[in-house]
């Protein structure tokens, strides 16, 4: 009998497990013994920020993976793209006269075409523009090169012979038509290829320069197609593509430092606006809230639904005004005492793929007449500050950095109205209060 019982109990469990349990749900008159009230509080700058500063110099153009050319853009900006191609191929598989594919290590480079891909959306020109391809004649370091210096690393600062990547030797010119969407093309002869292919030369490199004044172009890629004569079956030519080894750009002038009443984020090197939060212990409530609770209402993590920085955009320096929407984010500054070299906290918001999510602001917001209020959510940071602990159990930092997502990404940046002016930053809080849940 006991065996039968043992068999029966799992069977009963299985029967029950197969059934779906649902809580009867009332949707009519309020049965819940709580009276929740959600309200909004806007804190002025002086009530939530104890310190603010704008820091620059984060990242270098080489980290963007893109190039930039400009000539007298808004009357003053000059930018040249510097390129170092990858090592030329030493061998190729070639079909001989018998139709057999063989490896040929005795290649002769006849000439080449350099293809330059432009970002057609950020292009400032609607008409054709002329570009020049030039060979760099001095040693340079792609990671540290700037407008004035060819090398700018610790212990070594070497200026260019001519600011902006010079002196150079002209190679070719081309005209690019933005309407076509095609790549710009430069022709390189065998002699130039011989110089570019010599990897022992540390002056190896190309400079791409915009000759048409008043414009700016972003370069998204460079490729070199080598027309090659093999030693096998010499009647044929073979096209071999060479990618980039290094791509960077140099530009002038550098943007002026922001005024004390300006916040700034973005650019290359990037700007960050660093704020130290000093949250109040309580906030005012609206009449409905004050009728329920004693006002001011203590500010607690449990009551906080949302916290967002309300920022008013303002026109950016004309030379650096964004040409594409910019994504901004806020991160915690983990060791403020080590600024500007403090590590940053993890992104506050992730999408379903685990990628950081920022707040997108259209480029028009930084153009004259386009000023608007944008909100950058910082709920996790404020919630941690109020609870006294992060989700990981660490003490939260009150210092935050307003920065561009995926920094650095473009030499353009966004400007915001800073403290002391109309439209200064504010903190928007959405809070909910309710009676505690209680027994019937």
């Amino acid at each position: 009998m006991i065996r039968k019982t043992r068999r029966l109990l799992p069977l009963l469990a299985a029967v029950l497990g197969a059934c779906e349990d649902q809580l009867p749900t009332a949707v009519g008159p309020a049965l819940a013994p709580v009276r929740p009230l959600t309200f909004e509080v806007i804190l002025p700058w002086s009530e939530f920020v104890s310190d603010a500063r704008v820091l620059g110099g984060f990242g270098r153009p080489v980290q963007t993976g893109s190039g930039l050319v400009a000539h007298e853009f808004v009357g003053e900006v000059e930018a040249h793209t510097l390129v170092r191609m990858a090592e030329f191929p030493r061998a190729a598989n070639v079909v001989d006269s018998l139709g057999t594919t063989r490896k040929d290590t005795l290649l002769t480079f006849l000439d080449a075409t350099l293809f330059v891909t432009f970002d057609t959306t950020s292009n400032s020109s609607t008409g054709s523009v002329t570009l020049q391809l030039e060979r760099i004649l001095e040693p340079w370091d792609a990671r540290t090169a700037g407008w004035e210096l060819a090398v700018d690393s610790v212990g070594e600062r070497t200026p260019w012979g001519e600011p902006g990547g010079g002196p150079v030797e002209p190679i070719a010119g081309t005209t690019w038509f933005p309407q076509t969407g095609l790549d710009g093309q430069f022709f390189l002869n065998a002699a130039t290829l011989a110089l570019l292919g010599d990897t022992t030369r540390n002056d190896r490199g190309l400079r791409i320069r915009l000759a048409t004044p008043g414009h700016r172009l972003d370069i998204t890629g460079v490729r070199l197609d080598l027309r090659t004569s093999p030693s096998i079956n010499q009647d044929n030519t073979v096209l071999l593509s060479v990618g980039l080894s290094e791509l960077t750009y140099v530009y002038t002038p550098t943007p002026p430092a922001p005024e004390p009443d300006e916040l700034r984020a973005g650019g290359v090197p990037a700007w960050r606006s660093v704020l130290t939060l000093g949250l109040p212990a309580s906030v005012p409530g609206n009449p409905a809230v004050c009728a329920r609770l004693s006002c001011p209402v203590p500010l607690t993590a449990g009551r906080l639904n949302h916290a967002g920085l309300l920022l008013t955009t303002e026109p950016t320096e004309p030379a650096f005004v964004p040409t594409d929407p910019i994504q901004f984010e806020v991160r915690g500054v983990l060791a403020p005492e080590f600024l500007p070299k403090s590590p940053l906290g993890a992104p506050l918001f992730l999408d379903t793929l685990g990628l950081a999510v920022g707040t997108t602001v259209p480029e028009s917001a930084f153009h004259p007449g386009g000023a608007r209020v944008v909100e950058i959510p910082i709920t996790p940071i404020v919630r941690s500050l109020l609870s006294g602990s992060t989700l990981s159990g660490f003490r939260p930092t009150p210092t935050i950095a307003l920065m561009e997502l995926f920094e650095p990404i473009s030499f353009t940046f966004g400007s915001f109205v800073g403290p002391g002016r109309s439209g200064e930053p504010r903190l928007r809080l959405v809070l909910t209060v309710s009676d505690p849940v209680a027994l019937p």
Binding site: E20, P24, V27, P440
Partner: protein, 397 residues
Amino acid sequence: MRRAERLLWCAFSALALLAPASVPAVAQSVLAAAGLGLPIEPVDGRGRALGSVGIGLLGTTVVPADPVGAVDLPIPTLALTLQSSWLDVQEGAQAASFSGNRFPALGVSYPVRDWGVLTLTYGAVLDQRWRHERRDTVDLEAGEAVPILDRFRSEGGVSAVRLGFAHRVAPSLAVGGAVGMYTGSLSLLFTRLFDTIAASGDIRPFQSSGRWSYSGPTATIGAVVDIGTVVRGAAALTWSGALEADPSDGTAGESRSYDLPLELRAALSGSLAPELSVLVSVGWADWSGTDDELEMPSVGGALKLGGGVEWGGASLFGRNLSVRLGWRRADLPFRLEAGTEGSESAASGGLGLLLLARSDGFPLALVDLAIERGTRSAGTVSEDFWRSTLSLRVAGF
């Protein structure tokens, strides 16, 4: 000793099976939102089919509500009851359907020499599982009306574990009593969810929660009078001490104490023919003692009554089959809205199949199934339900 070990093993196995479900497992009514919840009758499938309030059935039973029902069980017996519900709720113009399961009753009996029968039972008392949802909008200062969903979830309930003893003092008279403890817990969770798409941003939910544990003493005494095997009269009185609700750590508020009522139940069964019997039963309790602690006063006295007829002359695959019909009605003790009173009524039918019997005819294994079709209503809420109750009783292990 070996028999006692087997009995304990079965009892613990059954309790282990129940542990994740924690009687009462699943709510069966939105009306559980009223007062202390919806009273649960820990009745088996046979009693459900006959409209019983829990006592007075001819034959033997092991149910929490009846301290004397096991008095004539000469061998160890385990009884387990499972219940499923399908519920259609109508609230004004809104309707919804739900389903769920529960273990309303579990019992074990063990004869102690010729002194009597010891019982250990575990049964549901009050069901407090329900949920409320309300959609609305919140106007924020920026002028945006953000859609919200307020969700209140109540999980748990009150159950009782009882140790009883029944003794036949005379061929026509048996008495019994049980003492026990109320147990169970209640978890309340309020959540306000914001439509983050409409709000164009990240707005975290608001939550407020609490948990309380129940405790308190209870005792039941009962008696059965048999006139031959033709008529049985039974009565039981259940006393309850204060039901204490103690908050767990982190829960705001103090302990609360509810005065549960004295409950009186009586029943009369009779054989009309060799295989035909009838049952009428009635119960009454005054819940007004809970009014001091409740925001919405109870209805005070709550009456329940029911009756049914059983025919045991059928057979299925050569085994004895009982066919039952019944009806019951009960006042709901708690109000959902001021000035309204609720009630539940149901018609029932059922079957009882004897799976295994001893040579003298004593049942060793039997299964009872009851199907009820009923309605509940209180204020603007009305419910139609189907409820199945399946009981299994095994003996002789």
